[in-house]
């Protein structure tokens, strides 16, 4: 029986249950052994009383260790002193896998916990965060279904770059050199001409040398392309999406959010309030008060975004960035070609960028001009350029870092707190 079903069982009067799980805590107290048993759904206190149990049963319970896997059965009693108010009196007990001395006790360094990540993932903190993560992924897909978006996938091995050569991983590939994808955007643009609204959730790779609390060398990237839609339309879509995911997460993961120190009520404004939409120039003006070194053409980094959003309670759209700081595929504003019809969406409470988005350049001559400005050889992009030659349409799209979104919901201090096996410049084990 799963522990989450236990309170139902006790209410129905079915006092005897069989359980399987792992021992999270163990205490000997005046001839009684208290075992806190965990499974993926929760925890329950189990007790073996030497005054009542057979000596064999008591011995087997004594023999168990932290993180041993066990099978047991017994009777349930309400007990206000026990965690969750229920205690199981052990009638039968079997150690399935006896654990060696568990290396994680308490007060270990971050580095050590990363070394034993395979064991640290058993902590309730990681378990709860990963459950929120799963709900974020699921809610994203539910929204896509609602919007008639078809799931597709770009390749992981590619020959062009989307986000600049500095963060490319190169892979030796049967005598050729290929890259790991930085984004599936260009491939989604291809598929849009066949399937209409399309999306993918897939790994993207960035050889990030910067050590920040929000960058990893691989991350799960949700990407969407929408034909026949412009900047305002795609922002409406994104806002509706974030509201939808937030609502699902609050509804389905209340317990986990609370355990992680996030009061779900503090996320309610995200659902009820309209997101602010500000142009880059306005935001720059505000940011300059705190960071006078910023000037027109400066991008906002982690520090600036943290400051900008730390006292907000809903996400912020920043639109119309200068042409010089956005990649070639972004569409310049025909009314003011010095600015780009794009938006970044920043999470509140200091979390910063979760979405990069905008209209795509869809006229071939504009695209070639932009590539020239950026010094990009058009050859490997011939297929991408082709899309502008054969029935091009106005379109927009975006990329959402699902783990950054999860980190914000979970109030995580670091992105790795919501990623099972985070990869950074120094970390590929376990």
């Amino acid at each position: 029986m799963k522990f989450s079903k236990i309170s139902n069982a006790i209410q129905k009067g079915s006092g005897q249950v069989e359980l399987r799980g792992w021992i999270k805590r163990k205490r000997d107290l005046k001839g009684k052994i208290f075992l806190l048993l965990r499974d993926e759904t929760g925890e329950i206190q189990c007790v073996c009383d030497s005054a009542k149990a057979s000596s064999e049963l008591f011995k087997e319970c004594s023999h168990s260790t932290i993180e041993s896997s066990v099978e047991l059965y017994g009777t349930l009693h309400k007990d206000n002193r026990a965690p969750h108010g229920i205690e199981l009196e052990i009638k039968g007990f079997k150690i399935v896998g006896l654990a060696d001395v568990f290396p994680i006790q308490k007060d270990f360094s971050t580095e050590f916990l990363l070394d034993v990540r395979h064991l640290w993932l058993r902590s309730s903190k990681m378990r709860d965060a990963l459950k929120v993560r799963a709900t974020v992924f699921d809610a994203f897909r539910q929204f896509m279904k609602k919007k008639d978006c078809i799931e597709v996938a770009g390749p992981m091995f590619v020959t062009g770059m989307v986000e600049g050569s500095l963060t490319l991983f190169k892979v030796p590939y049967f005598g050729k050199k290929v890259f790991l994808t930085q984004s599936s955007q260009f491939y989604l643009e291809v598929l849009m001409y066949s399937l209409g609204n399309v999306y993918t959730i897939a790994p993207s790779f960035r050889a990030e040398k910067s050590k920040t609390t929000r960058h990893l060398t691989e991350f799960w990237h949700a990407e969407v392309e929408l034909p026949w839609i412009g900047l305002d339309g795609v922002m409406d879509f994104e806002e509706e999406l974030i509201k939808f995911i937030t609502e699902k997460v609050i509804k389905e993961r209340k317990k986990e959010l609370k355990a992680l120190g996030r009061n779900p009520k503090t996320l309610k404004p995200v659902i009820s309030k309209k997101f602010k939409r500000m142009k880059y120039d306005e935001v720059l003006e505000i940011a300059r008060e705190k960071f006078p070194y910023l000037k027109k053409g400066s991008d906002f980094g982690e520090k600036e975004e943290r400051e900008l959003t730390k006292s907000m309670d809903v996400p912020l759209f920043i639109t119309h960035f200068p042409r010089s700081i956005k990649p070639f595929y972004h569409r310049p504003n025909p009314k003011n070609p010095a600015e780009i019809l794009c938006n970044d969406l920043l999470a509140p409470e200091g979390y910063g960028e979760i979405i990069g988005s905008g209209e795509r350049t869809w006229k071939v001559e504009v695209l070639l001009q932009r590539m020239k400005e950026d010094g990009i050889d058009p050859k490997p992009y011939q297929w991408y350029i082709d899309l502008r030659k054969y029935g091009s349409v106005p379109h927009s799209g975006f990329g959402l870092g699902l783990e950054r979104l999860t980190a914000w919901y979970c109030k995580a201090k670091h992105i790795r707190d919501v990623v099972p096996f985070p990869r950074t410049i120094n970390r590929v084990y376990p």
Copy 2:
């Protein structure tokens, strides 16, 4: 308006509609221009009659080319001569993106179609196959939800191998050498101790040199790990899963299957009939009739699997392979250590292996012995070995090639016919 909504519109008497799409075919006939317009939902014949239209309108229609994107409006009429029995009389017409001469006309080589994959994906054949693919992914996840499986993800950058060193991609990683993951299985085994039933759908990479109709260097791998479950249990789970996905695909993609040459009725036995379960030894006996060179310890390759399954109408489980041909993580049968508690699931009609599965070795001494037999250095696997030291439990799992499954449903001749951007030894463009 999406074309799929048109027959509703005409039945409701709302004869005038606005449409957007791409020109799939164009014909001039006695002063009339016939345009077959496509979008992601279907096709509709549109006509501009010089006798009725203004000269400007007729000129704009004349000017359009194959694969040009257009916006138009007009009135709908029933017309039995038109494809799908409906014709639109064009009242207004605008070319959005005028297409150059479309390079794909007809009778092109496979290689050429791979070179212009970004355009070939617009064919109804690729569109339909990718829709089936999307439904397979979705149905898989729905089943996982039903079974309380939590979605997780292993890393793409790894330091150990799951499937042998010959097919490893090595990536230069900040001065270290790391591999691209061949399977997320070991990481799912970690997460099972925290989250119970777990699954992922993620890319796996194999540096496959063999040119077959079912191997790619990257593929989307659905993987599942289930604690407290044995070989029979995991086979029941797999059978229920395949039945569930098949039912969804038949229900939601009937039109696409038919268009691809698959009669959905031929898939019905998969839902209604129990899958056969045969031991390796039995299967070997049968296979020997056709392939006398096979002997105990031979594995079945593409050719043998094709022959074995070509006249079947439901998948076949092959169980209990010899120890010598299965990787170290498979659990030997305690009653007969020369055989392994594992199963492959083979799709019928010659498609062959879609699932590799089995119990995992969960005793540390057995695992170390198996690694020794295979000549594997335990060092990079220390974390995997740890799982057997800290509360190990019996468990099973499997990996399913979602694109192989899709290929079978679609009756595809080659796996690449259901993958948007297939990667092989010679192919990384577009």
